[in-house]
Symmetry: C2
Subunit: 334 residues, 2 copies
Amino acid sequence: MKKFLNDVDDFLHESLSGFAEAHKDIVHVNLDPFYVTRKKINPNKVLLVSGGGSGHEPLHTGYIGQGMLDIACPGHIFTSPTPDQMIAAIDCSQPKNGVLFIVKNYSGDVMNFEMAAEMISSEHKTILINDDAAVINSSYTEGRRGVAGTVIVEKVVGSLAEDGGDLESCHRLGEKVNRNCSSIGVALTSCTIPAAGKTTFDISESDIEFGVGIHGEPGRKREKIRDADSIVEDMLQVIYKDFEDKNLALNASSEVLLLINGFTSTPLSELYLLFNASKKLLNNKQIPIARSLVGNYTTALDMAGASITICLLDDEIKKHWDTRVLTPNLRWGV
Amino acid sequence: MKKFLNDVDDFLHESLSGFAEAHKDIVHVNLDPFYVTRKKINPNKVLLVSGGGSGHEPLHTGYIGQGMLDIACPGHIFTSPTPDQMIAAIDCSQPKNGVLFIVKNYSGDVMNFEMAAEMISSEHKTILINDDAAVINSSYTEGRRGVAGTVIVEKVVGSLAEDGGDLESCHRLGEKVNRNCSSIGVALTSCTIPAAGKTTFDISESDIEFGVGIHGEPGRKREKIRDADSIVEDMLQVIYKDFEDKNLALNASSEVLLLINGFTSTPLSELYLLFNASKKLLNNKQIPIARSLVGNYTTALDMAGASITICLLDDEIKKHWDTRVLTPNLRWGV
């Protein structure tokens, strides 16, 4: 294992300290317990709180700021944050109009956010993200996993909360976006957890893991690497099937957001190639790509690979996708 | 080699096609010959033209847009673009107030941009970027290499050109920013050129290449991997010495921009850890970090590793760093 680090036990502390300094105009980082908030919290809006194990950066800390999250609680690498982090962050924010938890569906996260929710006095609701169409139940999950669709939920709900949407409306919109998102990922390499010091799984020079999770969890099958067009075709088949199962129509009269998400070690040029491959196939089905996002938005430490997320849009989702966002790692509406 | 690709000869065409579709609100991509322009060129401003071999994305195509570049000409991977690309792009832009070429100092790029410059009728000047303090002369270079400081030059000069700065002023400012930038990189792994199908260089599991170039060119020395603080200390020593040699003072009364640039495969969390390590050492010398940038801005295909760039600021550079920029991969001033 070769990584830039000092003592492995200090990794998160040092990384968050660097993040704090680099983005001190936008965020405030608390180091004991770990939590990150907007530099200036507005207690009158619905407080959007997310978090999860570290190692998926920029998720979630990089999405704190105007038009997106208020708080993120980072756990250690691939380890759930604990309720004390969430409670401390919420206590210092003094929300007057409720708390909305945005939680990726992993058992540890679900349990810890539930415990925090029980212990705060504010009104609260939770959106469980489970956009990964690859597998039902897996290493850390009962039900489907939450992956890159999380970014879309956080952006869209963040916009409504910024506009003054109430807890009920924010929750309803988040549930809709989660339902409208379907994702699937492919790994070319494993990732390496610093404290483990070795790769999470073994994979040969000629194989890919089809349907991999963002912690290196197994997907649907181990396959030989093939040309990108053929891999993307199989990925989109899984997504199409998922929309069918959800009874959501994908056709010439639907509009979609296409997110090509890198896990870290796949060059941007390859992510654009995957975007192109996806575009050709969506064009064949006459499905219009109305919005797009390409880059490393929900990563898996140093894994090489990528996921495709399709989010079925409607006027409400489109409107809130397009609004101004100003966070360390997602910015537009300039 | 495991990469997302189809026929290796189609790689650039397919990647640029995806880029074109994903950012069609900002850029126009011409596929024969390859060049990328703003969607709407303003012929009355100084036309900023850059380019170079592909494989460093988002450099340069990702920096086209308001407040930054007008044109970028991508060559094949790690291969200079040719004069016909630059000439075709400039011809279709019909600049009325001159052309400023921003060229990284590699022999192929220098030669091809010089040939293009001789063949266009517009008034023109060239800024040669050579911020890499690692080595003088190397595989593809006479003199020092141009690396991540390029992004800072393109941003700052882009702002002045957007403001209506004339060719002379833009050239002068670019030369100043280049002189004020000093960079050094470290590789943990090699990169792999798709057409070569194998790593550019061999490196053991316990070594780093100190002073590596963005094509995997050799740096100053092959060393054992050590803790990040110690690597960063050696990197900053090279940068401090370079500022000394240039007769530019770095001290408590100077302000700097600190750029931690990833080459691709190093996770964002490690880049922030490097930012933190750099910050501690700059603090020791009481050098204030007034601006910061952390991420993959000048990459080397799939290489793991990172570079540090320090840019000495003054009021003029700060002002133009802070202005609004709206490109596919650099956005602020929201």
